[in-house]
């Protein structure tokens, strides 16, 4: 139990996917201008990343490793993720329309979110077991949501302030993200 707790804390805070591993930064900058879109994106990532983490682990162990075609991992994973996203979209539209309307356009965007692909590759690289993969995937996704929502809160305030013209928009956003990353750096001694 303790081992999993350490894993969860280190995935959310210490190795935060956005601010320490540099993954998933395009949606981080793109969807952080309004709180509603940020929450939608965070929810979609939590949902898809947990599923994708488990599924790609199974594909890798039972399919790629068994047939000794690990060099096709990149192609296999991107295909699995793309079709998973499509499948989830169709399933939600049919059975849980309320959730589908909430996640909306963020679902298809997740295919090219490198956080999803990145976490799946990290799981394989670290040789996690199936349960560990599931736990890390959802913890990384939670870290993504946490950082995204914190960042959006700050950014909504910055828009009101007077920012010098060349620094406006993405530029000041990146500098703010840097400051946020600095605070997350302080979690390093936690575990």
């Amino acid at each position: 139990m303790g081992e999993y707790l350490v894993l969860i804390i280190s995935c959310i805070f210490i190795n935060n996917i956005l601010l320490a591993q540099y993954l998933g930064n395009c949606p981080f900058l793109g969807t952080s201008k309004k709180m509603e879109t940020a929450v939608g994106m965070a929810a979609a990532v939590v949902f898809v990343l947990t599923l994708a983490g488990g599924l790609t682990w199974a594909i890798d162990v039972y399919f790629l490793k068994k047939l000794e075609i690990e060099f096709l991992r990149t192609i296999a994973f991107i295909l699995v993720i793309a079709s998973l996203v499509q499948f989830v979209e169709m399933f939600l539209k049919k059975s849980i329309p309320a959730l589908y309307a909430g996640l909306g356009i963020f679902l298809p965007l997740i295919t090219t979110n490198c956080a999803v692909m990145g976490v799946c590759l990290i799981n394989i690289q670290e040789k996690y077991t199936f349960l560990q993969s599931l736990v890390t995937s959802s913890a990384y996704a939670a870290g993504f949501g946490l950082a995204l929502i914190l960042f959006t809160g700050i950014r909504e305030r910055i828009i009101i302030g007077r920012v010098p013209k060349p620094l406006q928009d993405t530029s000041i956003g990146l500098v703010t993200a840097g400051m946020l990353a600095l605070t997350f750096l302080a979690f390093k001694g936690l575990v």
Binding site: L19, L23, C26, L72, T74, S171, L174, V175, G178, L185
Partner: protein
């Protein structure tokens, strides 16, 4: 409408240089620019994939059904990324190790899909090659400059050689995650100041 091939090439070097003008492909930009060698290595990898996938997509642009075009582009891109992965493993092993998972992650780099969708799917082969080369070289330059900045301030070296003399205290902030965000943000601001296209 018909722009010359040279123009398609040059636009990637200044007016549309990623990641400054086209804010795409941020993740590898932040992650690999801890040194010049890593930055340029990544840039070359992206350029190779971009040119090859642009050629293939431009050739197949009338064959690919528009409904499943994104899936087709991703498979083409993933194929060339695998080529880069195996080539770098064979011929540039230290670089392969230091770039780590960011080589397979070229697949999800938005620049590639962006160029495929915005350019190669609508233009013949030659302009697509020019576009891919221009954008790729622009990206490589940008990564090189950012790498030089962060390596020289964060490590006190440039391409592994000391530049500021023994008295210089390395500014470790620059090679860590916060420095990556801040330096890219400031570079963007400088590019905005230098001129609006």
């Amino acid at each position: 409408m018909a722009k010359s091939i040279a123009q398609e090439f040059v636009k990637g070097l200044w007016t549309e240089i990623p990641p400054f003008r086209l804010v795409l492909g941020i993740c590898p930009t932040l992650a690999v620019t801890t040194s010049v060698v890593n930055g340029v290595g990544m840039g070359i990898g992206v350029t190779f994939v971009l040119v090859c996938s642009n050629i293939l997509i431009a050739m197949l642009r009338n064959v690919i059904p528009s409904k499943i075009r994104i899936a087709c582009y991703i498979i083409i891109i993933a194929t060339f990324v695998t080529v880069v992965e195996l080539l770098s493993q064979a011929f540039a092993y230290p670089l392969y190790m230091s770039l780590g998972i960011f080589i397979p992650l070229i697949v999800v780099n938005c620049i590639l899909l962006g160029r495929a969708e915005a350019f190669a799917s609508k233009n013949p082969i030659l302009p697509s090659i020019a576009d891919g080369l221009g954008i790729g070289i622009g990206y490589t330059l940008a990564l090189g400059v950012l790498g030089a900045l962060r390596e020289s301030l964060g490590n006190g070296t440039l391409l592994g050689y000391p530049v500021f003399g023994p008295a210089f205290e390395p500014f470790t902030f620059m090679v860590q995650a916060p420095g990556a965000f801040v330096s890219l943000g400031l570079m963007l601001a400088i590019m905005n100041m230098l001129g609006n296209r």
